[in-house]
């Protein structure tokens, strides 16, 4: 026993989370929940009132009965549109033009008077379930498109809930580094699983152990035969993600642009809010540009990569094969790069950042010959004096094959295929 020290530091696994950090976590969760709930509840209510309700009324009104009616003169201070209709000798007064809840879908004042002059005979549609409920126009009007406006708010709330869900699940799994089941097991001293012969305690009878390393023998068994590698994110996924963000961002910014624009149209425009909005508008335009870029990239040829083994040990080799789905003639140069990257995620205040650092980078393939680009193979060798793949909640060692295809005047082919490098054989 060479190492002896009577002044050892305390265990991290016993005190990894302070009361203050727990309190801060609870506060952030409550804040996030409240923020998401406001967007979700307000967005849902607005979507129902402005969108779903009018649209459903349009559908239901298709069976309402067509009834003759007469346009009446508007009363001072009352609705702009009034009409009367008679059902079974009883007179009813209607004031609704359509199901558009925003402004009733009414035409402009002059058009209204031209289309519905006082005393004109026309038809209205009456709800058989409520004879006092009638409209002149039972179809769709352009104003009902405002029903789409609350969707971005609803999505912000939903995304907030999803982020909270994963944040809580993540926190539970890492917690103090000791899963609840493991904590209970160890504190009770009960057996929770098979008694592994690899763990023994002398001077101790009936040793109970839990193995949870992710690097036990059973974790390192490789499947036989080649495997097709899965791309980290496809151009279509990037396009959809960017498009959703662009819709949310530009919808919210668009409201303010509309309000500011209306002020200028009425001759009441102010410079400060106008200038203040410029960076937000530029970001919105940038995101739209990115969405267009990723959309064009969806038409690129797609690399399909297969490897002779799923797990490659350090200092080990594997055969790599590739082919492209789609026309590769536009690719001027193809590079396949083996990369090892450190990835560290950290929080500063309320923001989360992720830093990466490449510790290994080597060309596996680099060619300009179209016949070599379309289909090919190479031997992949992992260096022995480096680190295998490692994945924890905040810190990772990632190995990947990066495919880079240069296409002039068009978005390049760029695909990342994660691979798993394991400890030495």
């Amino acid at each position: 026993m060479s190492d002896y020290d009577s002044s050892l530091p305390p265990a991290l696994s016993a005190n990894s989370s302070t009361d203050m950090s727990k309190l801060f976590g609870c506060f952030m969760f409550l804040f996030g929940f409240l923020f998401s709930s406001i967007f979700f509840v307000v967005g849902s209510a607005m979507f129902y009132l402005m969108g779903l309700s009018p649209w459903m009324s349009v559908l239901s009104a298709q069976s309402w009965q067509e009834t003759p009616c007469v346009i009446l003169a508007p009363e001072a201070g009352g609705p702009k549109l009034r009409y009367s209709y008679d059902i079974n000798g009883r007179e009813f007064i209607g004031t609704e033009y359509s199901f558009d809840k925003m402004n009733g879908g009414l035409p402009a004042e002059n058009d209204l008077r031209r289309e519905f002059p006082v005393g004109a005979n026309t038809v209205c549609y009456v709800d058989p379930g409520d004879l006092s409920n009638a409209v002149l126009h039972r179809g769709f009007v352009a104003g009902m498109l405002w029903g789409l406006f609350p969707i971005p708010f609803l999505l912000v709330g939903l995304i907030g809930y999803i982020v909270l869900f994963f944040a809580v699940r993540n926190r539970k799994s890492i917690g103090s580094g000791l899963s609840p089941s493991l904590a209970n097991l160890s504190s009770r001293g009960e057996t929770g699983g098979p008694d592994r012969p690899s763990m023994r305690a002398s001077s101790v009878t009936a040793v109970q152990t839990v193995s949870n390393s992710d690097f036990d023998d059973e974790d390192l068994i490789d499947e036989s035969g080649p495997v097709t590698l899965t791309v980290e994110s496809s151009p279509l996924g990037k396009f959809i993600g960017t498009l959703i963000f662009a819709v949310i961002w530009n919808s919210i910014v668009g409201v303010f642009v509309f309000l500011i624009g209306s002020e200028w149209m009425n001759g009441k425009g102010e410079w400060f809010p106008t200038l203040f909005m410029i960076p937000f508008v530029l970001i919105g335009l940038g995101v739209i540009g990115a969405a267009v870029y990723f959309f064009l990239a969806t038409f690129n040829p797609t690399p399909v990569m297969t490897m002779s083994r799923r797990l490659i040990p350090l200092a080990g080799t594997a055969d790599l094969n590739w082919e492209f789905a789609g026309n590769t003639r536009s690719i001027r140069n193809l590079r396949i790069v083996l990369k090892g990257v450190e990835e560290a995620r950290y929080t500063r205040g309320t923001d989360t950042y992720t830093d990466t650092e490449t510790f290994y980078e080597e060309d596996v393939f680099n060619a300009t010959d179209p016949t070599e680009i379309e289909v090919g193979s190479a031997e992949l060798t992992i260096p022995g004096d480096t680190m295998h793949s490692f994945s924890a909640s905040n810190n990772k060692i990632k190995w990947s094959l990066e495919v880079q295809g240069d296409i002039p005047l068009w978005p390049d082919v760029h695909a990342v295929f994660p691979i798993r490098v394991v400890p030495h054989e």
């Binding site: 026993m1 696994s13 002398s202 101790v204 023998d217 650092e357």
Partner: protein, 124 residues
């Protein structure tokens, strides 16, 4: 005053190797429970990750006690240090109540050494 000690036969080990440890403690009162944990944790730029890989309960602990433990280490992850992340293995002795504890760091890696991540392309 509490005294906790963890002794190991070596300070660095091969992955999958055998580790022998001797743990001892002296407390004012008899603890409710005692256990030795094999853990790894990260340090560096990222928020800390910590994982308890093995737990060896030490039954019927006395106020003054000593136990010997042998265990087979896992094949990974290796102890390593890069520009952003370091991974450190340790044995941790934890006594209850009060989370009375001690920690001894060890190295697990090929050739019983920590892996140092250097981008050779940058150093040339």
């Amino acid at each position: 005053m509490s005294q906790l000690q963890i002794e190991t036969d070596y300070s660095a080990y091969y992955p999958g190797g055998e580790l022998r440890a001797s743990v001892s403690w002296q407390l004012a009162e008899i603890p409710d429970s005692a256990e030795l944990r094999l853990v790894w944790n990260t340090s560096g730029k990222g928020d800390r990750d910590l994982k308890v890989v093995h737990v060896v309960p030490l039954p019927d602990p006395q106020a003054k006690d000593e136990r010997n433990v042998e265990l087979t280490l896992p094949w990974g992850p290796y102890s390593f240090s890069g520009k952003l992340i370091s991974l450190i293995w340790a044995l941790e002795l934890v006594l209850q109540p009060g989370n009375v504890s001690a920690r001894r760091e060890i190295t697990i890696g090929p050739e019983a050494r920590e892996v140092i991540l250097i981008n050779k392309a940058e150093t040339i």
